[in-house]
Symmetry: C3
Subunit: 439 residues, 3 copies
Amino acid sequence: MKLKRLGWALVPALLLSVGSAHAQEAVTPDITFVFNTLLFLIMGMVVMFMACGFAMLEAGSVRSKNAASICLKNITLYAIASIMVWLIGYNVIYGVSEGGWIGTLAPWSADDTEALATGYAASSDWFFQMVFVATAASIVSGTLAERIRLWPFFLFTALLTGLIYPIQASWEWGGGWLDARYGFSDFAGSTLVHATGGWAALAGAIALGPRKGKYTTDGKIVTFHGSSMPLATLGVFILWLGWFGFNGGSQLALGSVDDAISVSNIFVNTNTAAAAGVITVVVLCTLLKGKIDLPMVLNGAIGGLVAITAEPLMPQIWQAALIGAVGGGLIFLATPLLEAARIDDVVGAIPAHLVCGIWGTIVVPFTNPEATFVGQGVGIVANAVFVFAISFVAWMLLKYTIGIRAAEADEDAGLDSSELGQPGYPEFTLNHPAPGLAE
Amino acid sequence: MKLKRLGWALVPALLLSVGSAHAQEAVTPDITFVFNTLLFLIMGMVVMFMACGFAMLEAGSVRSKNAASICLKNITLYAIASIMVWLIGYNVIYGVSEGGWIGTLAPWSADDTEALATGYAASSDWFFQMVFVATAASIVSGTLAERIRLWPFFLFTALLTGLIYPIQASWEWGGGWLDARYGFSDFAGSTLVHATGGWAALAGAIALGPRKGKYTTDGKIVTFHGSSMPLATLGVFILWLGWFGFNGGSQLALGSVDDAISVSNIFVNTNTAAAAGVITVVVLCTLLKGKIDLPMVLNGAIGGLVAITAEPLMPQIWQAALIGAVGGGLIFLATPLLEAARIDDVVGAIPAHLVCGIWGTIVVPFTNPEATFVGQGVGIVANAVFVFAISFVAWMLLKYTIGIRAAEADEDAGLDSSELGQPGYPEFTLNHPAPGLAE
Amino acid sequence: MKLKRLGWALVPALLLSVGSAHAQEAVTPDITFVFNTLLFLIMGMVVMFMACGFAMLEAGSVRSKNAASICLKNITLYAIASIMVWLIGYNVIYGVSEGGWIGTLAPWSADDTEALATGYAASSDWFFQMVFVATAASIVSGTLAERIRLWPFFLFTALLTGLIYPIQASWEWGGGWLDARYGFSDFAGSTLVHATGGWAALAGAIALGPRKGKYTTDGKIVTFHGSSMPLATLGVFILWLGWFGFNGGSQLALGSVDDAISVSNIFVNTNTAAAAGVITVVVLCTLLKGKIDLPMVLNGAIGGLVAITAEPLMPQIWQAALIGAVGGGLIFLATPLLEAARIDDVVGAIPAHLVCGIWGTIVVPFTNPEATFVGQGVGIVANAVFVFAISFVAWMLLKYTIGIRAAEADEDAGLDSSELGQPGYPEFTLNHPAPGLAE
């Protein structure tokens, strides 16, 4: 089933459900409307909660001297996404003409005049789409933690959630050129959400440079341990939970037997891919490293989840396991490669969201006969070029105007001290000031 | 749409949905019943989880020597609310006669003999109402943390959840005098839930006095840093999530196209108000303080949420943003005023729940033509006088009988030590005993 | 209402709902299908999140030197359960012939060819059943924390989730001998899930022995304080939330007025039992110990929840309170007894899940006239003998082949160091190395 995330896209699904092979009696449009709307609201709630998952994962992955700062970034980026998607983003995505390149620059407001024909409440759809945009922004904050200043990050977040994400999403989910001409297929956003966040993060990491002391002049790579593994684990469990909403809700409809079956199959594939990602990293660590690296195992779950996101519906369960397992393997491979390239990604967001996002997108044609490798390739490249280029330009503009990086002394003392004036854990690290500690 | 939270209030909504302008075919009463019940259960679950959000916010906001104690208070207060709303509270609210002042003093039990006419399962409604009562109790625990003893707090909680909250809720949601005579309008409880918690907390804070060392004799105000900003952030994210249930579930119906649209609009307004609250505090802190105060930003989210709670349905999205932004601004203003008044509110619950609760209630007539400023004023004053007076008397009675405040040495050592005999974090603060630390 | 957790078990329920005394117009099979499926998905999501609840409870209950290790165990055991229930477990449970002893050893795949007759999507059912199996595995990890090595635990988890749990579940929920011959009644799994986890944990605890230093040679019992009470509290709140799905979803149907009422009643009874468990422990601690033991209060909530799980539908609310209160009392009694027996159960999982699981199962006939004490007794004993025996043999086999216990030096240093090479909290415990600290 080809998916478009369009306001009018559910009408065929509605007709389909009425004529379904399973149906004995028609579900009325009213009931379908309520089911579809409820799907958006419930699944949107757990996707919204992914903002909390990212916050906890990142708070647990930074050193304690930056823990409050990363919390502030995460709640504020969600707030910024909420406002920007209203003011600009939504209509940039869905105001695009068929085959077009960008929608309209106008604030969104709920319009339910054609509610039954649309098949769901306008606000429920807006909410569901908005939390996807916030997810992309959450990815960026993890990579750039512990050294980026607050306001440049907020400004970039406004650009990402108001324009960068929406423009490239309009190409596909808005029915623009990528969808119309190339039949690109990205069910819930391996590329459109996760690789977007990944490219923006990579551009930022290059513009910003690594954390002080991360790569020594004599070529050594220093491990900075995250300050709380339980918080990082909490974050990944929340993300895993949220992903049922992320992928399951992307069916965009629940008002028929067929849709209910599809959402259920998506749940199983999503869960299986994540589980396979976890187990793959556990096995690879055991065999190749002797000890098991918890942050990498956690990232294995995310890698599996990102990989299945481009097509969580069509794979058989064993195919979902395979897609997720390769995702886990890519985490294991890409993390040290990124370190070797001296790109400092605090939470491993680039391996998880960018590398596994591309993997998930490439592999779609194996299970979805409507997708083609050419179409997938065009989509991946278009997304890469656009998001990376605009992001890099934006980061460099910010760098050479207001500056993006904390002063060296502030980085030593921790951003909590310089930007918040308030420690994340005032009592636990008091006897051992952070700078000299974990480095 | 005027809302009454009554057992029989859905009958008109049911009829309305059948005759809706949108409806092509009637949703049958059976299906409406299941949808309405499902709304109560799902939204009730996330509101229940707000008890966890308050626990985490408060655990992160106290000093580590009181972290276990505040956790104990929060899980126990939820348990007490569960029992008291069953034994007394529910029928005090909904057993009231039209225009009356108090319902009946009798335990609740599920009665589904008129299920279809009622429109939802009796137990689903009870569950949804009960978690609201628990929310009011959670507000109190935050303000009084670090110095109140366990049992007086539990006794007050029993009174609050069994009688104080239910009596004033009966005036409006039970169909009592405030609803019948003044047309007071409080959709999901800016006044009935949040200001109620806020007044009870304020009365307790006055009776109890500030934490030792908070206000010095030479007029200085000492900042006591919360022990874990990530936990406080986690708490606020959970509250934000729960608020979709709090406000969205207060539509009390999902079994029609109109209701599904209303719940969706409520989601968007709720989210937008919170986002505007966050951004307002971030901007105000940046402009006026130089550094950004994370606890205040977190409270900005809550302030925006509380403010929109009195009327989350009628505002346009820009109005919701404005209401939330003013809520954030009030947090910024009221927090130092409260400190100047030497009232010690550990988590800033009074600015968030009381001040923003009043603001949200006052502003309803701007977006809801059925509300009047007189009606709103009467409701706010009646709630204030009743809740504050009864609470203050109760606190004073407790103070001069069993006593409410921990002994000075116990407060120094932390309540974890004196009341639980068990530290919240036995390993992290062992080398640096708490009293001499964060003060 | 007698419950079988069978693929074909809903057909009568479906017919029943059409002929319900409440029904004025029939809910069509399509709509029932969507409601039932939605119930499995939503409730399955919150049960899945219980894996996070267990992880947080256990992370907060271990000493900090084992915090990362227990997180790794918890996320990996959920992944293992996901894979094993697919590869073996599901068809072992539901492939059993009527009255039989074990199902078929074949991987599961979704089959929706008879979707409407079945009444729900195959994948939604699989997902809901799978998260139950994961719950049993989560119970084991808590008991054995701080001393078991990773890989033996993972191998046992694979056995438990692939065969041990599924075989005994097939006897009842698969329609095997226990259901067919004895009319054993266990609505949501006090015995089948919780006692199963408890017996497996007990067998492991005996095979493994207590933590070093827990029981001194001169007969003293040393208290090892958990490292983070807020995390433990977070975990229990998540479990409480998840239990609404655990018990409520076990109604297995939502597509009729009667089912919606049943799920609602289950919510209320579940919540009330937990609340009564909490309050009972608070009161007992106050009266008998002077100080209130937070971990025991938290366990009181779990004890109440486990106790009501065997029959959350039939009790009146006061009966649910009583069942939960006795559950809390059993926590208070059994915890010191277990310590006196020198069985080291880090999180108190055996009192909560085993003792209260048996209590909840025994008491069913008091509220459900279809259950008999003989049937309940046979079920409890069969479950006990089978699970304990197989588990004990498996643990001993692992013990005398690859070994199950960490080396003494590794236990001193903490498993985070020996098995992960990475501390849970690298900054907080640096100045005070863990071994000499909390012991």
